[in-house]
């Protein structure tokens, strides 16, 4: 049992509230990723779970036991830091076995545990080296090894890949995913990189300014974002947001006029009530949703092109210079400065009210 539950957890530094009441249920064995822009409180929340920051209000439980006042070493957690936080004067073996010395384990047992972790992480040839003689990726593996030997109920990762170069980041991402599969442990992982979040997580927690914006599986967040923030944060390239006005409509359909696109009218399927005519809304379309056969049409001017091989990203402008990103699968012969009609199926568009809430 290594469920983690947070109930109305809050954190204040003086008069400033950083975490504004977080409720969260993390099931045993789940890989949960906290994601959000810098300063959203994701690292603080992780450090509160670790016990490195006190909890101002609310309850934290790990495995059903209240942990608010429990010492970090007694919470059954292990943490991997962005800076690796290795002990610089100790060898890899000493780094990994250091905690076990204070847990009162006999030397032979420590050796066995450390060797086992080294085998899992393929660190065997490096055991007698010091951290400064290791590459970034190797250091991070040692940091993970130091966590593994403690057999924690919950692994906490604080932006573990941020200090690595792009190629190594992809490689380590896969390693961490494999590790989760092999160990079956609960993992809470903090990152600002939404690609990491999408690829690793069973469940993503999107945070902004100390508030949970949405919790869900990666594809659920991608397909059904609850608000403008989540819609904009998840997915790369970013979702296009077009300013619109409700023109009219009928049951299950709203006609949205886009003044910046020559007054084009897009009929959007609607689940809830039809907003009053004339109220401002935002239309959300992912760059990949543009197709040549869509029923909605936007007249745009091509500003920039990025040929990625598998697709071409078209950065285009409306008459009012709103930027639209279009991902095109075909290698058309569009050039910069061309005018074109960008088409998308209106059924795929998302609709947000003026306060950013999703209305469909």
């Amino acid at each position: 049992m290594s469920d983690v539950t947070l109930r109305d957890v809050r954190k204040s530094f003086g008069a400033v509230e950083i975490i504004k009441g977080v409720d969260l249920d993390i099931k045993s064995g789940e890989f949960v990723v906290f994601v959000g822009p810098s300063g959203c409180g994701k690292s603080t929340l992780l450090r509160m779970i670790a016990g490195l920051e006190t909890i101002t209000a609310g309850d934290l439980a790990i495995g059903g036991d209240r942990m608010n006042e429990v010492d970090p070493s007694q919470r059954g957690i292990a943490m991997v830091f962005q800076s690796y936080a290795l002990y610089p004067h100790m060898t890899v073996r000493e780094n990994m076995g250091f905690a076990l010395r204070f847990a009162g384990l006999p030397k032979a047992e420590i050796r066995k545990q450390v060797d086992e972790a080294a085998r899992i992480l393929e660190l065997e040839p490096l055991m007698d080296r010091k951290p400064k003689a290791l590459s970034g990726g190797q250091r991070q593996r040692v940091a993970i090894g130091r966590a593994i030997v403690r057999h924690p109920k919950v692994f906490l990762f604080d932006e573990p890949l941020s200090n690595l170069d792009a190629e190594l980041r992809v490689h380590m991402r896969i390693e961490i995913a494999k590790l989760h599969r092999d160990l079956g442990a609960t993992i809470i992982y903090v990152t600002h990189d939404q690609v990491e979040a999408m690829t690793l997580a069973d469940k993503i927690v999107v945070l902004r300014s100390g508030v949970v914006e949405q919790v869900g599986a990666p594809l659920e967040l991608y397909d059904n974002p609850a608000n403008l923030f989540v819609a904009g944060f998840i997915g790369s390239p970013k979702m296009n947001f077009l300013k619109g006005v409700v023109e009219g409509g009928s049951a299950g359909r709203a006609d949205i006029r886009l003044p910046d696109f020559g007054g084009a009218v897009v009929p959007v399927a609607l689940k809830g009530e039809l907003p009053a005519a004339g109220s401002p809304v935002t239309l959300g379309i992912r760059p990949s949703q543009f197709t040549e056969t869509g029923d909605a049409a936007l007249p745009v001017t091509v500003d920039m092109l990025e040929h990625l091989g598998s697709e071409t990203l078209i950065y285009a402008r409306s008459t009012a210079s709103d930027l639209v990103t279009i991902a095109s699968q075909s290698r058309s012969n569009i050039a910069m400065g061309d005018t074109m009609i960008a088409r998308f199926p209106s059924s795929g568009a998302l609709l947000f009210s003026a306060d950013g809430k999703r209305i469909y």
Binding site: A50, G51, L52, D71, P72, S73, Q74, I77, A78, M79, F81, Q82, S83, A85, L86, Y87, P88, H89, T91, F98, A99, F102, A103, D128, R129, K130, R146, R150
Partner: protein
């Protein structure tokens, strides 16, 4: 001339370069290199005042039969062996305490502990002298607190006289060394300690097994500079115990006579024997060299 070698060859002797460093080199040669070499030459000479004559190794033989030199050597070693470890341990502990962000008035405390090393030597020795006399502040406080019944004979007992000197130099230089440790501690990644906390490493072990090893280069530096400082100890013993004044002994029975003070006495107080004084100077040079080498050797990076 080929296209590759268009860059002019650097001449062995570049007048411009030597002109720039020339004045500095001349000053160093006149005021440092020459005196060092000349004193080495002087250490093989003997005689009064300026009337020196070559004496070979006579000065070195004299060292071993000179009770005052042996006394000064012993005293210097006592000060070095007791004072340096005490002071550096104290500096390390105060640095660790004052590095704790939960302590109030950290800035004031740091300044207070650092200030002694920038106070005037004369002012502080006069103060120490008045505090440690038989009926001075220290004895009065100790008696009133009931720690001792009779005043401690700081100025008249060889043992207590050395203790007083050690207290004085420790007071003066602890803060100075503490600043080095503080600066080094502030460079340690905080997450290392956080990782240790999560790993369940107790506070004392974090200090002993993490802080101290990570400060090793700074500890080595302070050990070497403090060793040099203590081997050259002169100021305090000269002024507090009166060893520097005409006719005054350095503490009871010369118990606070140090090598530096002895050199001073040989040169300026007794019948001046510059040759022998130079020999004693080179004893200090030799000691500093040996001790520094040992310290660097002990602190070397061991290959795994």
């Amino acid at each position: 001339m080929s296209a590759i070698s268009t860059r002019p060859k650097r001449p062995r002797f570049d007048v411009n370069g030597w002109l720039f460093v020339g004045p500095a080199l001349a000053l160093i040669a006149i005021f440092m290199v020459f005196p060092i070499l000349h004193s080495l030459w002087m250490s093989f000479q003997s005689g009064l005042g300026m009337r020196l004559s070559f004496a070979g190794l006579k000065n070195i033989y004299r060292l071993f039969n000179d009770p005052l030199f042996l006394m000064a050597l012993t005293n210097t070693f006592i000060f070095f062996l007791v004072q340096v470890p005490v002071m550096l341990t104290l500096a390390l502990i105060t640095a660790a305490l004052l590095n704790n962000p939960d302590i109030k008035f950290r800035g004031v405390l740091r300044t207070a502990i650092f200030l002694p090393c920038v106070t005037s030597l004369v002012a502080y020795t006069v103060l120490f002298k008045s505090m440690f006399v038989a009926n001075g502040l220290v004895n009065t406080v100790l008696i009133n607190l009931g720690i001792v019944n009779v005043g401690i004979p700081w100025m008249t007992d060889p043992f207590w006289c050395r203790v007083m000197i050690i207290i004085a130099i420790t007071w003066r230089w602890t803060g100075y060394n503490m600043i080095f440790y503080l600066a080094a501690m502030q460079n340690i990644d905080r997450s290392v300690y956080e990782a240790a906390r999560i790993d369940g490493v107790p506070t004392w072990a974090r200090f002993v097994s993490l802080t101290v090893p990570m400060l090793k280069p700074v500890i080595l530096f302070t050990t070497v500079t403090s060793t040099i400082g203590t081997l050259q100890l002169f100021d305090e013993v000269s002024t507090i115990t009166g060893g520097g004044s005409a006719g005054g002994a350095a503490g009871p029975g010369n118990s606070a006579l140090t090598l530096s003070l002895y050199i001073y006495n040989l040169t300026f107080k007794f019948a001046p024997n510059l040759g022998y004084a130079a020999t004693v100077s080179y004893v200090i040079v030799l000691l500093v060299a040996i001790l520094s080498f040992l310290q660097f050797y002990a602190a070397r990076e061991r290959k795994a």
